[in-house]
């Protein structure tokens, strides 16, 4: 239990979860959960349960659990649509907002139970309680539909849902900013900048679910093999608290070699890591202080074969390499949602490939767009070739 836990905090047990995931849960409980929940280890005294249905022996574990605790309020976590009657389902990768809603629902159930002495059932119309309510519909759903849904969900995780804003309306403009320093992204950007100053060795980051080592010279991030993407994505969305235990430690080359020899460390591209982290954190927003009226400078094309390709990223890159434009004008010129331009800009900023050219005078939108390139004589051919390449991938 942590100091921030409130008196009426709900005692929650996690079943089928590894330690790093449990640690993440604790961070959510103490952070956005505002201490209204706390994690315990004994099922017998738990008031609610969070059950991971994707574990190796999850089905067996679930059967045992349900037999022993048939009415314990339960949140089921799963990658698939495991809508189990009498439970609250949260789909992985977990979105904080949805997870918090599920927690609130469980808490409400407990409060109602305390008031009436009964355990409220989650009603499932026309379905016996022991059957998964959406099983039939799930089976009927085409695999392609599910793929599209998953792709759309991934897209939202990277680019958010925001509608276009009117840059003349300050209340709308305020909503598109976020401060990377309030999130894990800011911490990693600092660590990255620090590691770039080192001639040898790297930076060890402690306090996460797994130790991570930044090797900027090699453009590598080393981390434990249990470093799952879902966990990291969840962490990027949590505002960093002042009491965060994150810390940076300088490692000499020999220490890195020693760790490589004794620990199971996996290497991944540091650029890709920072790019993805910025996309997850920004979710279609831009760093605080970005001037919407000034032009963006893209230093060079990002290495798109090894980075997450957001919608229209190739078009945006080509446009900015040819001529700098402001973020708002870019969306207008390409006739695409602003959030795609914002997402790409935030990611490119994180790996120092894009910045706002503060020297440029503010141009009127009309004059800015008037300077756009004329139509290429072979545009129709290029369009067909592009369609062919995309369709044939």
């Amino acid at each position: 239990m942590t100091q921030s836990t409130t008196k009426s905090a709900l005692r929650i047990v996690a079943v089928g979860m590894d330690k790093p995931t449990q640690r993440l849960l604790e961070m959510v409980f103490n952070g956005p959960g505002r201490g209204e929940y706390f994690l315990i280890e004994q099922l017998e005294v738990a008031q609610a349960c969070i059950f991971d249905l994707d574990g190796i022996e999850a089905a067996k574990l679930w059967a045992n659990y349900r037999q022993q605790y048939p009415s314990l309020p339960t949140i089921v976590l799963s990658l698939n649509h495991h809508d189990v009657a009498g439970t609250v389902f949260v789909k992985k990768p977990i979105e904080i907002e949805k997870f918090l809603k599920a927690l609130a629902k469980i808490k409400q159930m407990k409060e109602e139970e305390a008031a009436t002495g009964d355990l409220p059932q989650i009603s499932v119309k026309g379905q016996p309680a022991h059957l998964a309510p959406t099983q039939t519909t799930r089976e009927a759903k085409l695999a392609t539909e599910i793929t599209v849904e998953q792709e759309e969900e991934a897209l939202h995780q990277y680019c958010g849902y925001h509608s276009d804003i009117n840059p003349q309306r300050s209340e709308e403009v305020e909503k598109i900013y976020y401060d990377p320093n309030n999130y894990l992204q800011g911490f990693f950007e600092k660590a990255f900048a620090f590691s770039q100053q080192l001639e040898t060795g790297g930076i060890l980051i402690e306090g996460l679910y797994t130790p991570m080592i930044l090797l900027s010279e090699k453009n590598q991030l080393l981390c434990g093999c249990e470093a799952a993407e879902n966990q990291l994505r969840t962490m990027t969305l949590l505002p960093l608290s002042k009491s965060s235990h994150l810390r940076m430690i300088t490692l000499a080359e020999t220490e890195i070699q020693q760790r490589l020899a004794t620990e199971k460390l996996m290497a991944q591209s540091l650029d890709n890591f920072l790019w993805k982290m910025a996309l997850w954190t920004a979710r279609g927003k831009i760093p605080k202080g970005t001037d919407l009226s000034k032009d963006v400078v893209l230093v060079n094309w990002p290495n798109f074969t090894r980075l997450v390709l957001t919608p229209h990223a190739l078009e945006i890159s080509a446009l900015w390499i040819a001529n700098p434009y402001s973020l708002i004008d870019t969306a207008k010129m390409l006739n695409i949602p602003q959030r795609y331009v914002f997402a790409f800009f935030s990611a490119a900023c994180a790996i120092k490939l894009a910045f706002i050219d503060r020297r440029t005078d503010t141009r009127s939108p009309a004059s800015s767009l008037a300077g756009s390139r004329s139509e290429h004589p072979k545009r129709n051919l290029f369009k067909r070739l592009l369609a062919r390449l995309r369709g044939g991938e």
């Binding site: 090894r306 890159s317 040819a322 369009k383 369609a387």
Partner: protein
Amino acid sequence: MSNYKLIFTGPTGAGKSTAIAALSEIPVVTTEAKSTLRNPHQEFKTTVTVGLDYGLLKLKNNDKIHLYGTPGQERFDFMWDILTEGGLGLILLIDNARIAPLEDLRFFLKAFEDFIKQTQVAVGITRMDLSSKPKLSEYHKELRKLGLNPPVFDVDARNKKDVSLLLQALLYSLDPNLKAER
């Protein structure tokens, strides 16, 4: 029906034949012979392209995009001007595991200077898994010295998606206001 061509170039062993094969919808026509050159970094490559590689992409309206790979060896460079005549753009592949990849880059940019001025170039760096240096940033630096800022991607020539992305970036470089036909 119209015919167009795209040119793939780069030093011997950079992956031109493989990249064309990744995109082509017909088996690639390759004129190869046993190599008379020894390259300690490419022990596996026992043949070299002495003529050219040829592949084909057909579009919906039956337009054809002919994919040509230039002979990798400089002694065949007399063919390069002929090949590029009327070409849409250039894909330059550089093998990062060769002795001096940046020199290779400079050499091919110079050799195709006029063609690049008329069209655009996209650069694919192959075999970065075997040799991580020079880094992509060093290629960009070298290109900037020559007044160029083209797409430069880490490419596995066997991977269709990699080669396709490089070609898409070339198309967007040729026409930044481009949108795919739906």
